[in-house]
């Protein structure tokens, strides 16, 4: 049991909480700041790496991920210093993946070469849309042309480049999305993420929606059609979904994100970062304060950015395993579920869901089908204890 995490591997997530502007749909822990003391942030990140390194010394690191916020606002020197410290702390897997999330503005693409020299080997770019009108409505700072240009620059420096699109936008119909998706497929190399727009509480869109002022969003029928059509088109183009919203050619999946979904261990550093660490035979959930200033203060004054840890009971681990694992098209190994929860998944429910074509068992693994992934929350509600 204590080794369950090894099925997923071990990764490091670093959160950079700043952006040039706040996008109206975004509920990530991101903030706009007038001035950022990057040297001070560097000291904090390095201190946290040291602290977690002591606890996880013996591990082989499979991945590092700079997420945000907008990590492409980090000084390349800061990124390089962090990666230097990471190399000194953990043994690294031969195929270690080091991803940085980037916004595709010209200022940021200017730093790509330096990131690459510092050790970053994969870029995940927030393209969001391929037409200017929609980019404006999404509150983005870049044009479609800038986006494409940034993408080309990224490709010249990195072997692995992915980008994100948001669809099911205001006033977007199925035909318009299909056309845009085909354009994207023509650009995509081997990986991209296609997210349906989610209206999150506490965002500008959330407030507008609550006031009834966010019009033209698709209803459930259209959203479902868009989702299923997306799956068909991408599959035909050789980039099938390996996760609910992520598509890749064989072998090009994001190793970092697979660690989450395969329920491996991950250390989380930075404001609001989450971690799961199996230590002394128990899985700990770690979390840090979300406000950047509080996190810095905690690191500087207490020597740890973490809030009190929580030991995850096995039944909670089983649920997490389920809700991460069923997102993947490869599904889950029922033996792992049994080992965590002490029971099998309910056979009768599995049979019902199977009959409805939502879940299937293939090569001893249980997976949600394409239709099943479209209603995954429902599937999980049925299966969880």
């Amino acid at each position: 049991m204590s080794d369950d995490w090894r099925h997923g591997g071990f990764g490091l997530y670093l959160h950079w909480p700043f952006c040039a502007a706040k996008c109206p749909y975004c509920d990530f822990n991101s903030h706009v700041a007038a001035e950022i003391d990057q040297a001070r942030w560097q000291r904090a990140y390095l201190a946290e790496i040291d602290r977690l390194g002591v606890e996880t010394q013996d591990r082989v690191l499979n991945s590092v991920f700079f997420g945000g916020g907008t990590p492409s606002l980090m000084d390349p020197d800061l990124v390089a210093a962090i990666l230097e410290r990471v190399r000194r702390t953990w043994r690294q897997a031969n195929d270690i993946e080091i991803t940085l999330e980037a916004n595709p503005t010209s200022i940021e693409s200017g730093r790509f070469r330096a990131y690459s020299e510092g050790g970053v080997n994969r870029i995940s770019m927030g393209m969001q849309a391929l037409n200017d009108a929609d980019l404006t409505r999404l509150g983005r700072m870049h044009s479609a042309a800038e986006g494409r240009a940034a993408f080309d620059i990224a490709r010249s420096h990195f072997d692995r480049v992915s980008f994100d699109l948001i669809y099911a936008r205001q006033d977007q119909d199925l035909t318009a999305w299909e056309a845009e998706l085909r354009e994207a497929l023509a650009m995509a190399v081997d990986h991209f993420s296609l997210y349906q727009l989610t209206i999150e509480e506490g965002t500008a869109f959330g407030r507008r929606a609550a006031a009834g002022k966010l019009t033209g969003l698709p209803d459930e029928e259209l959203a479902a059609d868009m989702y299923l059509r997306t799956q068909e088109i991408c599959e035909a183009a050789g980039l099938p979904a390996y996760e609910v919203s992520n598509h890749a050619r064989e072998g090009a999946q994001s190793r970092h994100n697979l660690i989450y979904w395969r329920y491996g261990d991950y250390a989380g550093i930075g404001p609001g970062a989450h971690g799961r660490l199996t230590l002394g035979g128990t899985r700990q959930a770690t979390v840090t304060p979300k406000p950047p200033a509080l996190w810095l203060q905690a690191v500087e004054q207490r020597g740890s950015g973490e809030l009190p840890r929580e030991e995850l009971p096995l039944e909670d681990q089983a649920v997490e395993f389920l809700l991460f694992g069923l997102r993947l098209s490869e599904g889950i190994d029922p033996a792992r579920y049994r080992a965590l929860s002490g029971t099998d998944l309910p056979a009768e429910k599995l049979a019902d869901l199977g009959e409805l074509g939502l879940v299937e068992t293939l090569d001893g693994r249980i997976r949600a089908t394409r239709e099943g992934r479209a209603v995954l929350n429902g599937v999980i509600r049925e299966l969880m204890p």
Binding site: A224, V319, N377, E382
Partner: protein
């Protein structure tokens, strides 16, 4: 022991919110009956539910000592009675225990339906009536118009009506003087054998059953051996007291007096309201006429949400029934809902009050099924069955005809809403009996099926008249009509708890409304669900709840599973609160909401 001519017994009759409780508070306060520091608003409403809803459910009594202007001190016994139709029987029996009534009318509103119903009860009981015009502090108060209104609608002399403000205390001394000088003193013979009326009884957790009495003749003392003439039971008086309004021990009570006793009586059911209490050894010759016990008219099923709570529910119901003889129950099994109870109530408010108390005082989660009235089923073999539950409807081939209870409803409403009220009554199969005007208000009397009223008639009436109508009713008779049982099938399975009795002509419309409502109330499932209303084998309405097609979190990375896990766990817990029918989960609220008609 007080001299007869120094006693006045009275009640206050009023439409809801006209100020009955506030006036009672003022009378208690101005006579110093309750110390200023113990005074609180609506003092006589002792149950939480009464205070919260601002209604009086249980009659309550207070003994007031009043030094009048003539230099004499009088004992005034006030019985506060409920104003709601459900508890009309409670009003009528309390009225028999007193000689006079204060008729309180809101001077800014005028006479309302319950003013009428209650004042007629007082007149029936032979009361002297003193009209009181309350809320004259309000700018909208129009005492002269309301006087004319009282004379017009009720037909009593209102020229001496006392203008007051129960809120500010204005006019209260005049009310106290009027009680002494305008209401009659009770009559009775101190030397005759004991004859006392059992007015009410309730369960007190410390004292056991407490019995409230009004002495007619003779004297009752602590330690006496008394006999209940109807039940024949004999008890020894353990404690004798008056209510001020808390109990104050009293050595004896004579003619005209009102008080309470305890006598090691086990449950409220052992006492009969209206029974005559006399001495075991020296009984009186003839008992008082007595009352007929209140009959439950509305029935519904109460089921625990969690089947494991059945025993707890049984316990709670038994305990409540100890204290509420007007509520009936028997065990019921439903294919859909499992084990529960079929309970009978005096009306919908009574139902709500009992359900509220079960949930609150006994911490139970309950499913309430559609309220139904008692239908009389005339079988072809001559047998007559009382049908309390539509699920028990016998096979139609053996049924000759069905009768349903009808009521005589009185509604008072401002002119401008009359059209809406007539339409509502008409839609509910009403037959107009009378329509008269008093100023700008209309009074309509309708003959209506009780079944059409028990559910949401009152709510609908309030909403179509913006709260300006008042309503009261009396049961009139059973009458034959073309009634059928309508079943609801969810995913092709009949849900017995949703079946209702309905008039054939209205079945399609009701069926359509119900399946549409259910379509909204049942959450989408992973598969599509047909929802049908059927009479016998014939489907009269159908809807299909389509399957859920999209419900997935688009972005889930960064490793924060906590929020999502909590959300799913919450939803899962919500699912567990629903009832499973085959593979379909129906939220408990649906059993009542499905029947609401937004016509």
């Amino acid at each position: 022991m007080t001299q007869l001519d120094h006693i006045r017994n009275f009640s206050i009759v009023a439409h809801i919110d006209h100020g009955k409780s506030t006036l009672a508070d003022r009378l208690i306060q101005m006579t110093g009956t309750v110390a200023e520091r113990d005074m609180k608003a609506q003092l006589l409403d002792s149950m939480d539910i009464e205070r919260e809803r601002g209604i009086t459910i249980k009659a309550n009594t207070v003994r007031i000592e009043y030094p009048a202007k003539d230099g004499e001190t009088y004992v005034l016994n006030l019985i506060d009675t409920p104003g709601h139709v459900d508890f009309a029987y409670e009003v009528s029996r309390s009225m028999r225990a007193v000689e006079g009534s204060l008729l309180v009318v809101d001077a800014s509103q005028g006479v309302e339906a319950q003013t009428l119903a209650n004042v007629y009860q007082a007149i029936d009981a032979g009361h002297e009536i003193v009209p009181v015009l309350n809320k004259i502090d309000l700018p909208a108060a129009d005492p002269d118009a309301v006087k004319a209104n009282i004379e017009d609608v009720i037909g009593i002399d209102a020229s001496d009506a006392i203008p007051i403000s129960a809120k500010t205390g204005l006019g209260i001394p005049e009310v106290l003087e009027a009680i002494v000088h305008r209401l009659p003193a009770p009559k009775g013979d101190r030397d005759a054998p004991l004859k006392a009326m059992l007015v009410d009884s309730w369960y007190d957790p410390y004292l056991g059953v407490v019995v409230m009495i009004r002495v007619m003749d003779g004297v009752i003392r602590k330690g006496d051996r008394i006999k209940m003439m109807q039940t024949g039971a004999v008890y020894g008086i353990d404690k004798l007291a008056v209510l001020k309004p808390q109990m104050v021990d009293f050595p004896e009570l004579g003619p005209g007096e009102i008080g309470v006793f305890t006598a090691s009586i086990k449950q409220v059911r052992d006492t009969r309201v209206g029974d005559t209490i006399t001495h075991e050894k020296k009984p009186c010759a003839t008992p008082l006429p007595g009352f007929k016990p209140a009959q439950p008219v509305v029935f519904c099923g109460l089921f625990p949400v969690d089947a494991n709570d059945f025993e707890a529910l049984r316990d709670a119901i038994e305990k409540l029934a100890l204290n509420d003889a007007s509520f009936s129950y028997e065990m019921e099994t439903s294919a859909a809902l499992g084990f529960g109870f079929r309970c009978g109530f005096l009306g919908l408010l009574h139902l709500e009050v009992v359900r509220d108390r079960l949930e609150r005082e006994y911490d139970l989660d309950l499913i309430t099924t559609a309220p139904s009235v008692v239908f009389k089923i005339y079988m072809k073999d001559g047998e007559v069955r009382d049908l309390h539950n539509p699920a028990d409807m016998p096979d139609l081939t053996y049924v000759d005809h069905i009768e349903e209870p009808r009521i005589k409803a009185t509604i008072m409403v401002p002119d401008e809403y009359l059209g809406d009220v007539l339409k509502l009554c008409q839609d509910r199969r009403g037959i107009q009996l009378d329509l008269t005007y008093a100023g700008s208000r209309a009074m309509v009397v309708y003959d209506l099926p009780l079944a059409e009223v028990v559910f949401d008639f009152y709510d609908r009436l309030k909403s179509v008249t913006k709260g300006y109508a008042s309503f009261d009713y009396q049961l009139s008779e059973y009458r034959e009509d073309f009634l059928v049982k309508m079943s609801i099938l969810v995913n092709d399975e009949p849900v017995d708890a949703l079946s209702i009795m309905v008039h054939r002509d209205r079945a399609e419309a009701r069926g359509r409304a119900m399946v549409e409502k259910l379509k909204e109330l049942i959450p989408r499932h992973m598969f599509k669900i047909p929802i049908q209303a059927a009479i016998g084998g014939r489907v009269v309405a159908r809807e299909t709840l389509s399957a859920m097609r999209k419900d997935v979190t688009a972005k889930c990375y960064g490793g924060d599973a906590t929020r999502k896990k909590k959300l799913l766990e919450k939803q899962k817990a919500g699912k567990k609160k629903m009832r499973q029918f085959g593979k379909v989960e129906i939220p408990q609220s649906a059993f009542i909401s499905a029947l609401k008609m937004d016509d």
